[in-house]
Each structure stands twice: as structure tokens, then as C-alpha cells.
Symmetry: C2
Subunit: 433 residues, 2 copies
């Protein structure tokens, strides 16, 4: 495996093995970037991002700070970095971590091959961490290695599902207004307690919003605000938009965000994040047929019937497997209609082993056979996969009728919810008769 660079270095291209999807993303980003001109009447700005990641995660009730809590064995912050890296027009990503977590963070960057990341030391509060991140981008600081951006995005390390469109929206609005932030409707009514813990008054829910992340600022606006702001603000404040208003007199433009922007705060949020990630990666499935003839007949028929169930279904008899792996499909169903020597399955497994596909997400392989009498486990092939790979071989799949498509969907439901593998195995009567 090629080592990813640690903080500070800035290769222009993503790693060799992950080029496929990144390439597609880059193309999408380029077209988004051109929207700067078309929609906002201004040129594409230089953009950097600052992520405060110095929190202790006390609300999570676990000893690990929440940004380092594992989701499918990968730390939460790695998902957030991946979400920002996918946006090619973000040139630098500055992460503020505490001294004690610096080595952990470097290890994460190397292991998951993150790019364009610089690390700075976190402060004791959120505002101080952000300020340290901004200083790393400011030209007036000694030893500054990065170039000052026109616009800086501030995002949380614990909001992994941020999408390019909302990043683009806040950056565009910041270019025009000086400051911008994502907002969401309030879920609960907000009330003001009196000193004796009784209700003083409640706020009319419809007139207020929750301030979420990402936010974006003209760099000079927010850097000036941080330079001027009081120790009290740095110590007890939480809201960057408030600093821009108070010290730079900029009224931030508020942008409606999607429900995806929520912050992982409690343990339940880790559960939710894991389920969302599983659902996302399960929506892309590749069906591998063992002959070209099967691809044409059984395969196309299956594709037709399944494409209403899945976002992406691809049927192949193997020629373009390498490309499909490069494009980061994580779910494979091998259909051994004609043969029982599992040649195609074996070839796929070898290719998966050689690729670095399993770095980011678990890979699932299900093998289905018409002829096999016994259940066969390929576990000896899988020693190099730390993540989940299930190989399940059942007999009986032959022609495509409605019953068999139902059974096939039963397999696929495993991809969405692994609990079904139990049902699949103990209830595989359609095959064992």
C-alpha cells in the first residue's frame, strides 16, 4: 500500500488505486466550480477549510473523543475528511487536534490516504482551535507554508455527511455577503429558564433556526474578527457567525441545509451514522455472471427487474471487473449459472485482494451457484481482508422467475441489513429442496 502523506505535504493527485471515482468526482467538481461564474456573477475563489477537532466528546459517554470513534472500523473524522476531499476546489484542509491526539491523527491520514491535509495544534476551546487553523493560512504568520485563501470554510469534524452543494452554497454566499452559514429548523421548542429552574419564557419555534455547519467567510472578515475578539468570546463563545457580526459587522447570509448536516453528538448518532453509511454503500451492486451468454440472457433480465430496487446495478461477465473495482463498487454477487468451479468468483476475489478497495469501506461478496450441493466457505481466501466479506454459496438458481427474483432480493437485503444473513441462511429452503 502506498502511504498517504501526513500533515503539510500537498500532492496534486489522489492515490493511484482510487483514481477512478475521484476522477469522476473531479469532473463533477469542475462543473460545480463553473457555477460560481454563472450563478453568483463572480469568479471561482481560492477556498480552504478549517476543521476544529480538539473536542473531548464528553456527551458521547465514551472515553474516545467522538471524532475518533470508529464507524465500520474507520474513525468518524476520516469520513468527514473524505467528504471534503471529494470537493476538488477546496485546496487546503486544516485540522486542529490536541497534542495528545496528533499521532493518532497522522496515523489516520496515512492509513486512509487522505490528501491536502495540514495539522495544527488545537486550542482549549473551539474558537481557539479555529483561530489556530486560520493562523496557519494567514500570510502575516511566521513560517506560513500555505497560501491565504479568499474564502475559508469552517466545518465540524463530526458532521461526516456534508455534500458539495451546501459547501458551494455557503462559499458563494460568503463571497457575496462576507459570511454565510447553514441553518436547520428547530426540532424542539427553545425555552429560557429562570435562576430557580422555572420557565421564564419560551421562544416561538418558527421564528428561530438552529445554526449548523458548514459556514464560510471571506478570510479577511473572519480572521480580523478572531484577532479582535475578547478572551471571554474565545473562552465561552461557540458561534463564528456571531464573531463576524460583533467584530466585523457582517450579517451572515443564512442558507437552508439538508437533514444530513447533523452533528454526531451522542452515542445514538454513531449508530445512525453507521446505518446511513451502510445504506449508501449497499445501493451499488455488481452482478458477475460466469459466461458472456449468461450476461446476455439471465443477467440482462435480472438487471431489468432489479434496477427499481437499487440505485446502481451493473451486470458483467467479467471483462470490465477491474474498471468496476476502480470505480469503487463494494458489493458483488457472483452468479455461477453454468459452472460450479467458481472460476469467476475466484478471479474477483484475487482482484479485490490486489486492489486497495477495502481501505475505506467493507467489501461484500455473495456467491450463488446452481449446482453446488454443499455450502462452501471461501474463508481461506480472505485473510487479507480485515473487513467483512461474506461468501455464501447456494444451489438452485437457474432461470429467472418471480420466486427466484424474490430470493435474489433476499440476498441483496443482506447488503442493507446484515441481520438478514441469518434469515437467508436458516431460511434458504427455496434452494435446498
Amino acid at each position: 500500500m502506498e502511504s498517504g502523506p501526513s500533515g503539510g505535504s500537498r500532492p496534486a493527485e489522489p492515490g493511484p488505486r482510487l483514481r477512478g471515482l475521484r476522477g469522476a468526482d473531479a469532473a463533477a467538481s469542475a462543473s460545480s466550480l463553473s457555477r460560481f461564474g454563472a450563478e453568483a456573477g463572480c469568479r471561482a475563489p481560492a477556498v480552504a477549510a478549517v476543521l476544529p477537532a480538539g473536542g473531548s466528546g464528553e456527551r458521547m459517554g465514551v472515553p474516545t473523543p467522538k471524532q475518533f470513534c470508529p464507524i465500520l472500523e474507520r474513525p468518524l473524522i476520516s469520513y468527514t475528511l473524505q467528504a471534503l476531499e471529494r470537493v476538488s476546489w477546496i485546496k487546503d484542509i486544516i485540522v486542529a487536534v490536541t497534542g495528545e491526539n496528533m499521532e493518532t491523527m497522522k496515523g489516520i491520514i496515512q492509513r486512509y490516504q487522505h490528501k491536502r491535509i495540514s495539522l495544527v495544534e488545537a486550542g482549549v476551546t473551539r474558537h481557539r482551535s479555529i483561530f489556530n487553523g486560520l493562523k496557519a493560512l494567514a500570510e502575516d504568520q511566521p513560517n506560513c507554508r500555505l497560501s491565504k485563501p479568499e474564502v475559508v470554510i469552517i466545518h465540524d469534524a463530526v458532521r461526516p455527511f456534508v455534500e458539495e452543494d451546501v459547501l458551494l452554497n455557503v462559499v458563494t454566499a460568503a463571497q457575496e455577503h462576507g459570511a454565510s452559514g447553514a441553518i436547520r429548523p428547530l426540532v424542539s421548542t427553545v425555552i429560557s429558564p429562570s435562576v430557580d429552574s422555572c420557565l421564564d419564557h419560551s421562544l416561538e419555534r418558527a421564528r428561530y433556526r438552529a445554526s449548523e455547519m458548514p459556514q464560510a467567510f471571506l478570510f479577511d472578515v473572519i480572521y480580523e474578527a478572531y484577532q479582535q475578539c475578547s478572551d471571554y468570546d474565545l473562552e465561552f463563545g461557540t458561534e463564528c457567525l456571531h464573531l463576524a457580526l460583533k467584530y466585523s459587522h457582517i450579517k451572515a447570509k443564512l442558507v437552508e441545509g439538508s437533514p444530513d448536516l447533523w452533528k454526531v453528538t451522542y452515542k445514538r448518532d454513531l449508530y445512525a451514522a453507521e446505518s446511513i453509511i451502510k445504506e449508501r454503500i449497499s445501493q451499488q451492486v455488481c452482478v458477475v455472471m460466469d459466461t458472456k451468454e449468461d450476461e446476455e440472457h439471465v443477467g440482462r433480465c435480472l438487471e431489468e427487474m432489479l434496477k427499481t430496487e437499487l440505485n446502481h446495478i451493473k451486470v458483467t461477465s467479467g471483462q470490465d471487473l477491474q474498471q468496476i473495482i476502480v470505480e469503487q463498487c463494494y458489493n458483488f454477487v457472483c452468479m455461477n449459472v453454468m459452472t460450479s468451479d467458481f472460476e469467476e468468483t475466484q478471479r474477483l476475489l484475487n482482484m479485490l485482494e490486489e486492489s486497495n478497495l477495502s481501505i475505506l469501506y467493507p467489501v461484500v461478496v455473495i456467491s450463488v451457484s446452481q449446482d453446488a450441493v454443499n455450502v462452501v466457505w471461501y474463508s481461506h481466501l480472505l485473510k487479507n481482508f480485515p473487513q467483512l466479506v461474506v461468501i455464501h454459496t447456494v444451489k438452485g438458481f437457474n432461470i429467472v422467475n418471480e420466486t427466484e427474483v424474490d430470493v435474489f432480493l433476499g440476498f441483496l437485503s443482506f447488503l442493507c441489513d446484515p441481520v438478514n444473513v441469518g434469515n437467508l441462511i436458516s431460511g434458504s429452503s427455496p434452494f435446498s429442496n
Copy 2:
């Protein structure tokens, strides 16, 4: 299965099969109830609960209203009802549902054997639904079948994890202050937008709280408030504490709630709720040994080593299985150390089939054998279980050494996260050698 009663009827005792745990709960409730006298200096009041459940769940992004969305195949509202039913001193539970969901709700009450429930028609807003619920308890209404409580709890159908202690706290505070509500710290800063969607001002997060549920009121206080309040309040308001303040001039006592009080609002919350429920039921495990001798030796040794990992571990050679089932243990590991005829496993499965245990939660059975050469599936025994039951037989378990305890913990991790059943099966090399 005995049918549960539908809305309106009020049997004094829970169903025959679920007596065990309910009995234990009732004892705990009785002792909590005595705290009313000891702690608050007042007698135990008559208490009822009102649950508005007329929402359409538009934020969930699914056609089913969120209170009816399934978690482990059971509708969300059934978990909330179960949480309230466990508290024996809540005499009546009034649920407000829309006319179109009335039959669905009756079906849920019957299927999951809910008790002490009365149904009323929901209004078009939350406040109107609550008002309808209160009317069903008020003596001035025609055809009133229920008796007026001293204190009424108002709770949301979509907050399934409410615990008895917070219910007790709000009821006690309502008795003293007239009104009370649970609060939580704000997760996000709250801001006020101007008409042009720019930041007008942000609130200092530490000075405000999120108003959550449950809330409790002296019945006369909140009923009077609803009778007096304006159509505007009924139409656009959301906060019962506000009505008590505005119309009955009662400043509610605010009680700090636990993170468990959160409201299922978005799809991610359903995922989180499912994971929390799985984690809870997985913490109680019964290990069934095939002989008394094994129970004494292997069993006790296992119990000692596992009790640090699980909240409740019980080892038996089968005499008290019926009692363990009555007490609602959902997870069984059958250790066939001496024999390979699986007699004890078969007996357990028969008892599980005869019980109604699987009504509320899925039951998991794992069978481990020293002698079996092949994997054996008991799927033919399980036709009457709609929920997940996994029977997995592996050879090789013999003496209890550290490696085998690790492997055993591997089994148990399946109870926490079904994804592991895949790893368990494909990675069962310690046994298959």
C-alpha cells in the same frame, strides 16, 4: 395467542404469559411510588398520560407517519406504550390518532397486548390532539368513561426511551408547582434570522434549553389553559408549558432529562432507535448447558469470565428454563458439551415456540457443540417464529481456556451486531480445524 383488548377496556392485570417481568416491574414501581410521600412530602396522586400521535411524519421522508414506522418489525409507538405501561402508577394512557389510522392503532394494541389504553380522535394540530385527550379524562364531558386524574403526563408517541425516574420527577414537580417539563442542553446555537435570511442575532447557548418531553401538569391547570386558549395558539403553538404560563399563570418547574428523551424525527433516528433496542436486549444472555455437571464446571467458569462483558448472564442446565423465558430473556446460547443430540436445544426451542416471547422482540438462539462435524440448521423447527432466530452449530468447544472464551465472545458480539454472524461463520477456523 390471547388477544389484547382494544381501546377503552381496562383489565387490571397484564396478559398471562408476560406476567414475570411485569410482576418485577410492578414491585419496582410500587417502591418508586412510595417516594412520592418520602421525597415530595405529598401523597401519591392519580396519574394519567396523554400521547398525541396524529402527526404525519413529513420530516421523516417516508409515507408512513413516524409513530407507525417499524423498528425490528414492531411500530415505534408500541415501544413508547410499553415504556409507559411498565410504570404501574400510570392508570390510563390516552392516545390521540387520526381517524384514518384508528384501525391500525387498534391492531397494534391487540397484537402487542397493550393495556390501559384509550383511543381518541386526533385534532389537526398537536395542541388540538392533546386537548381531545384531556377531554376524555375530564368529568365535564358527556360519556366520559375514565376518571379525572390529579396529574396528567403529556408525552410524545415518538420518544420510546422514556424511563420511570424522569416520569416520576415531572409528576412530583407538577404536584408541587402545577406544571413541569423535561429539558436538555441545546446541541446547536439558536439564531434569529431577519426577513432577508441574514443573521439578526444569535442566542447565548448556555442561557437556553431545549424543551423536551415528558411534561406533567395538575390536570385542572392544563385543562383550564386549553379551554381558555385562543384558536391561534391551538393552530400554531407547540409548547404546553407556554399555555400553562399564559393562561393559568403557572411557571413550570424544569427538570433535567437524560439523552434518552430524544424525539424520533428523521430517518436516521429510526436507525439509532433500532441499534439502541438491539443493544439493550442483547445485554441479557442465558447459557444452557446440557448436563447439571457441565453447569457446575464449564458453566460457572464461563459465567465468571463473561459477567464483566454483559449486564445479565445466567447459566442453567435447563431446570429453570421456563422461568427464564417468563422473565423475558431474548438470547440463548446452548452449549452441547457432552452430547450431540441437541436434546436441550430442542427442548428450549419447543418452549420458545409455546411461549409468546417473540411478540415484543426477536429471539436469538445459538447452538454450540463439541462433537458435531457438520453445520446443522434447525430451520424446520422455526416456522412459527416471524422474528430472527439463528441456530448455529460448531464443533470444538471443550474446555474453557482463554482462546475459547474469546471465540465465545465472538458469538455474543452477534447479539450486539448481527453483522458479526457473517464473520462468525466465514471465520470459524478455531472450530473447523
